[in-house]
């Protein structure tokens, strides 16, 4: 084991960047699963779809992050359609249907994966941008710009979603539907339309997260499987539905993983991440920021 305070500082610094990346890829799930209780296991697959769409759009000369932003409205519509289908076929038929909904989302993930393979093949895809492949030198430290982009995207997404959910009428309605759906119905609001809107937002956010994913590293169609465990871990650790909690949980996971990777050994990293989740759930079953 190699130890020095410089290395520890570097591990923490990089853990913060990695944590923000984890938060950014999980924040859409925090809305769909955390707030809406939809077992959205296709979230990482939709993100990969976002990565491939970014690959196409950035091929026309647009910056990858801008491509992700341009794609958000289309993904919003896609999210609305997916939720509508899920609602009509599963959710409206009662609680048992939600379990069958899990199979629906697995199926959706599989269809996206196979569709991407048919359209693009199984080779990895990357995008080009000035901030990919270079790093910021701060004394002896070198910080990859692509991770700084992930850091920025995570902060902006968290701040935007937190403000939206707390300051706007629709945002507050989304939080209300998560807490007490019948009460919202009594207030004259249509919970299904609110959930549909929220799911659209979660899917739209996935487009930007997908753009960030292909900036951080190459993607291939089956890559969603790597992120299923990690994204759910972040959302559950945060406490279902908390946006700032998602950022905090991502940071905790990222810093823990980075320190373990650098100091103890890479094989321990997943064990530490999921061990941390077990400990937190043992002490606070509602998660770190859940109520």
């Amino acid at each position: 084991m190699i130890f020095s305070f410089d290395l520890l500082f570097e591990a923490v610094l990089f853990g913060v960047l990695l944590g923000c990346f984890y938060a950014a890829v999980s924040i859409g799930l925090s809305v769909s699963f955390g707030l809406l209780d939809v077992p959205h296991v296709a979230h990482p697959a939709i993100m990969i779809l976002g990565s491939y769409c970014t690959y196409i759009v950035s091929g026309w000369g647009l910056d990858p992050i801008l491509s992700g932003i341009v794609l958000m409205p289309a993904f919003f519509v896609l999210g609305v359609l997916i939720y509508r289908f899920y609602y009509e076929t599963f959710e409206r038929r009662g609680t048992e249907a939600a379990v069958r909904g899990l199979a629906f989302f697995f199926g959706l993930a599989f269809i996206i994966e196979v569709g991407l393979i048919l359209a693009f093949g199984v080779d990895q895809r990357t995008v080009q941008a000035p901030y990919i492949g270079s790093s910021l030198a701060l004394g002896d430290y070198r910080i990859p710009y692509r991770m700084l982009v992930a850091f920025g995207v995570a902060l902006v997404l968290t701040a935007a979603l937190t403000l939206y959910l707390s300051k706007t009428f629709t945002g507050r309605a989304i939080k209300a539907v998560a807490q007490d759906e019948p009460a919202l119905r009594l207030m004259g609001a249509n919970p299904v339309r609110i959930k549909q809107w929220a799911f659209g937002i979660a899917t739209g956010v996935s487009a930007l997260a997908g753009a960030m994913l292909i900036i951080v590293g190459p993607v291939e169609p089956a890559m969603d499987r790597v992120y299923i465990g990690r994204t759910f871990c972040v959302v559950v650790l945060a406490g279902l539905g908390s946006m700032t909690g998602t950022l905090a949980a991502g940071l905790i996971l990222g810093i823990a993983e980075s320190i373990v990777l650098m100091m103890l050994g890479a094989s321990w990293a997943p064990a530490v991440a999921f061990g941390l989740l077990l400990i937190v759930l043992g002490i606070r079953p509602q998660g770190l920021f859940g109520r």
Binding site: I2, S4, L7, E10, A11, F14, L18, F21, E113, I117, F120, G121, V122, D123, Q124, T126, G133, S134, S135, R142, P144, R146, M147, V216, G217, P218, E220, P221, A222, M223, V226, G229, R230, E257, S258, L261, M262, G265, A266, S267, A269, P270
Partner: protein, 417 residues
Amino acid sequence: MRGSRRKVLKAGAALAAASALPGKAFAQAGPVKIGMSMPQTGSLGAGGQAALVALRLWVDDVNQRGGLLNRKVELIAYDDQTNPANVPGIYTKLLDVDKVDLLIAPYGTVPTAPIMPMVKQRNLLLMGNFSFQVNAKVQHDMWFNNSPWNDASSWSDGFVKAGQEAGAKSIAFLAADQEFAQNLANGARELSKKANIKAVYDQNYPPTTTDFSSLIRGIRAARPDMVFVMSYPNDSVAIIRAVNEIGVGSSVQVFGGGMVGLQFTPIMTSLGSLLNGVLNYNSYVPGMKYPGIEDFLSRYAKRAADAKVDPLGFYLPPFNYAIGQMLEQAVNATKSLEHRRLAEYLRKNEMKTVVGPIRYDKMGEWANPRVVQAQFRGVADKDTEQFRQAGKQVVIYPEEYKTGNVITPFEKARSAK
């Protein structure tokens, strides 16, 4: 009415005559079925799909020549998704439901390992497909690997020697936590120990690792003279990128060794100039001459373009075509599909293939391994065609294929032309 019936009869006769023209007449006994699982998705999918193009090319070629034992050859290949858990089920189906006559292993060590006990128990001939030491413990006497390596030294020797020539006294190991990389790492550790090279960093990483910056920082802090990396394709890309961004340190003389994926054209093209200086293993690089290889590669390239797979196909495809050639020679010589007889023939005779002559040792690995260690030099960005040139991968090892000396240290090699 009569006129139209005559026209129909004429058209039918013409169609029957036309369909009989290009093909060969096969015996009534049904096709010779060759079965395999192949990673067509997942981390080894890109390699697996390219390999399948080559195997299908051989199937078409052999059918043009009249098939095997005058029977048409049919290839049955299922996607194992690079998931070893899927592989035993696929082979059980191939044997018990599809009733295949011959078996080829999936590409890679990890997907192959789970079926080794089964083929040994059932006494089946298995043509290996770029596995590494997968038969070392099972010791099945009907296993024949197509890969140009045998033991750990055949793979790592060239890399360790290149480091020694540069005066390396210490080494860092970074290995994926799975069968192939661990087999290779164990051998490399022993080799470096024998060469009095001290291991100053030794890490295994789980296959789910998404970013390698922390590990590269750890290696840099250990200040090794050599860095031996044993990784799978997605990891290899992430590692090369992290090295480019963070730097691996000025002490490092040679970097690479066992990185799978840096032989795949799409990956080489996407990494471009980031590859410069990396010294890594390969199975074939332009400039190596074997009878038939150039004809094979040009025919492969046409099919690869349609299949949207590796357009150059230097790494796996010729060796997969060679599997077909070896089966063809063994079946034609023994006039049999009996596994024991075919295995005996393969063990005793030299096979003539597009990757040169192959003779097997008692473990079913190449008696004369031909793994090359080649250093990337002067690679430009976004240019696939450049890799057809001989100088982009300078062969450092073995002596008989050597086209240049290793440039050290690694930082200097990165800017060398």
